[in-house]
């Protein structure tokens, strides 16, 4: 097997006496969609915050392998460099857009570092240098591409806060993609979407993964999304990994079922059947 894109080893995060994540290790491979699932409070978002530099992990190593083979230790990079040098982008569980700025401006802010270099740290930009104008034109083209792709192009000049909820979620993904990441971390992208929007989202994520060489790490509660699009599933419960494997295997893992339903082991078999029917219904609804 090739070197994984992201390798999390013995990650532990403690808040005072509370251990949010305990000795977690998993891998996310290039060109794959890896899903991180688990019941509420399992520590999924905390894992994200460690990977994207919002928390400094108490223990453990997070290694990201660049295309040129260079290995970066994410927990040692300052917060903003994880995006710029490490090329990891993320979205947030409760959407964080620049609400008073237009969609286009949101996507240009995402290309800050590229444009900043092109503007000669603003000095050339103030005098209207041509090189900056060219760079800005390219940046707008990239933004247009992602607005088309997410179906938001007609609203490019509206304020982001004016968008309906589902569009805001897609805009956040478009904004993260404008940083041209190797790894895109999505925190519950399907939360609050209606079934149609959820299906569109699946297509968008698959296309991001296949066409743009961006691997995806996904937190999601909606099992239909997870089961349909992910190549690999990691299950957390109380900050520990309880299962890891392809979606079908994980789906039938009794430990996972028990964690989700909180049932005794001997009841697992009985509930398994129920789950299958529920899942089938859910799939049917989604269609």
């Amino acid at each position: 097997m090739t070197t994984p894109l992201l390798k999390v080893e013995h990650l532990t995060m403690r808040f005072g006496g509370l251990t949010a994540i305990g000795d977690l290790s998993f891998e996310a491979h290039s060109g794959q969609i890896t899903a991180l699932i688990g019941p509420n409070g399992a520590g999924k978002t905390t894992v994200f915050n460690c990977i994207t530099g919002f928390y400094k992990p108490t223990e453990g190593m997070i290694t990201l392998t660049q295309p040129d083979g260079q290995k970066l230790l994410l927990e040692r990079l300052p917060g903003h460099d994880i995006n710029w040098k490490g090329r990891v982008a993320r979205t947030f569980q409760n959407i964080r857009l620049f609400g008073g700025m237009t969609l286009l401006e949101n996507l240009l802010v995402a290309q800050h570092n590229v444009l900043m270099n092109a503007s000669g740290l603003s000095i050339l930009g103030i005098f209207g240098a041509r090189s900056y104008k060219r760079a800005e034109k390219e940046a707008i083209e990239l933004a247009e591409y992602w607005l088309e792709k997410t179906g938001l192009i007609d609203r490019a000049d509206d304020a982001a806060a004016d968008l309906p909820y589902g569009d805001q979620r897609r805009l956040e993904i478009a904004r993260a993609m404008c940083t041209q990441p190797l790894l895109l971390c999505l925190d519950e992208p399907a939360a609050g979407l209606n079934p149609r929007e959820s299906l569109l989202l699946n297509d968008l994520l698959i296309s991001i993964c296949r066409e743009h060489k961006t691997s995806i790490l996904l937190i999601e509660h909606d099992m239909s999304v997870v089961m349909q699009i992910s190549d690999h599933v990691v299950v957390l419960d109380y900050g520990r990994k309880i299962a890891d494997g392809p979606p079908d295997a994980v789906k039938n893992d009794p430990k996972v079922i028990a964690a989700y339903l909180g049932v005794e082991d001997d009841e697992v078999e009985k509930t398994e059947a129920e789950i299958a029917t529920i899942a089938a219904h859910a799939k049917g609804d989604a269609r």
């Binding site: 978002t45 915050n49 919002f54 947030f92």
Partner: protein, 304 residues
């Protein structure tokens, strides 16, 4: 040693005054998240109200010093409370829930208005009061230097401690205090559960002003003089004290006040009286750089 003890006493006296003003800042900040910039001037208005009532009672009615002071304390609290109630009602309440900077600018405007109002109606000159409680209790003598604690210093510290106890009781044990703490957490939810948010906030302003009025009485007692521009510097220092102690925390405000008072007197005694305010502000900046939420403030958890 002897200088140190003397400065300790002076610092605690001064710190009591700052602490009482600081409580007004910290309570208002806690409940509506606003820096009430006019609070220093409310303190100054309180000092003027006290001055006028004191003159009224002692020179017109010929009351004795102690009963006159008692009445002045009560009347000062009532009328200063009324002032702050009116200020909140007119200048802050309409802006509640609006743009964060609007109430701040409104408060700065109020501060300018109050100090100039007093200048216009009471005149720009210093207003002296006859010296009172001039005696002091000698504590000990060392190297020919007698350390003494003045009667007024005793009075200031005793009044502060008593008031803080009463105040602590109100905030911790009464339904008003519970309503205040509820509004601090979540005003909408408190309103849904039947707390009269407007009234609670108004009472918070009244309480803050009452304590500032007491500080005003102490100020004229201690310094023997008051001027329309005397609100700004003690106001800024009390605000500094509130931030130093951890804004929103009541014990923090008192602790911060005492610290600022001590820093100021100690610096004046050992280094240079000219730079005492520079010292107070520098220590504020240094503390905040290392302890961004103040000494007793709750650490702010960044939710992602």
């Amino acid at each position: 040693m002897e200088v140190f003890v003397q400065q300790l006493i002076n610092g605690l006296t001064l710190g009591s005054i700052y602490g009482l003003i600081a409580i007004g800042y910290t309570m208002v900040f806690g409940i509506i998240g606003m820096v009430n910039f006019a609070h220093g001037d409310v303190f100054m208005v309180g000092a003027f109200i006290a001055l006028i009532f004191f003159l009224l009672l002692s020179t017109w009615f010929g009351w004795a010093l102690i009963p006159a002071l008692m009445i002045v304390l009560v009347l000062g609290m009532v009328f200063t409370g009324l002032w702050n109630w009116a200020i909140e009602r007119v200048a802050y309440r309409p802006l509640r829930g609006s743009f964060r900077l609007a109430p701040l600018i409104s408060a700065i405007g109020m501060s300018i208005f109050l100090s100039n109002l007093i200048q216009v109606v009471q005149g720009p000159r210093n207003k002296p009061v006859p010296p009172m409680f001039t005696q002091s209790v000698p504590l000990f003598t060392e190297n020919g230097y007698t350390v003494a604690i003045g009667y007024k210093q005793i009075a200031i510290m005793v009044i502060t401690v008593v008031l803080l106890a009463v105040f602590w009781y109100i905030v911790q044990k009464t339904s008003l205090g519970r309503a205040q703490r509820a509004c601090e957490q979540d005003q909408k939810m408190a309103a849904l559960l039947g707390v009269d948010v407007d009234k609670t906030i108004s009472l918070t302003f009244v309480m803050g002003a009452a304590l500032a009025a007491v500080a005003g009485v102490m100020y004229i007692m201690y310094y023997g003089v008051v001027n329309f521009s005397d609100g700004f510097v003690p106001g800024v220092k009390a605000f500094t004290a509130a931030v130093l102690g951890g804004i929103g925390s009541l014990p923090g405000a008192v602790l911060g006040g005492l610290l600022i008072g001590l820093i100021e007197t100690m610096w004046s005694a050992y280094f240079s009286i000219d730079y005492k305010d520079v010292a107070a502000f520098s220590i504020l900046a240094i503390v905040l750089v290392f302890l961004p939420t103040g000494i007793l403030g709750r650490p702010e958890v960044e939710k992602v």
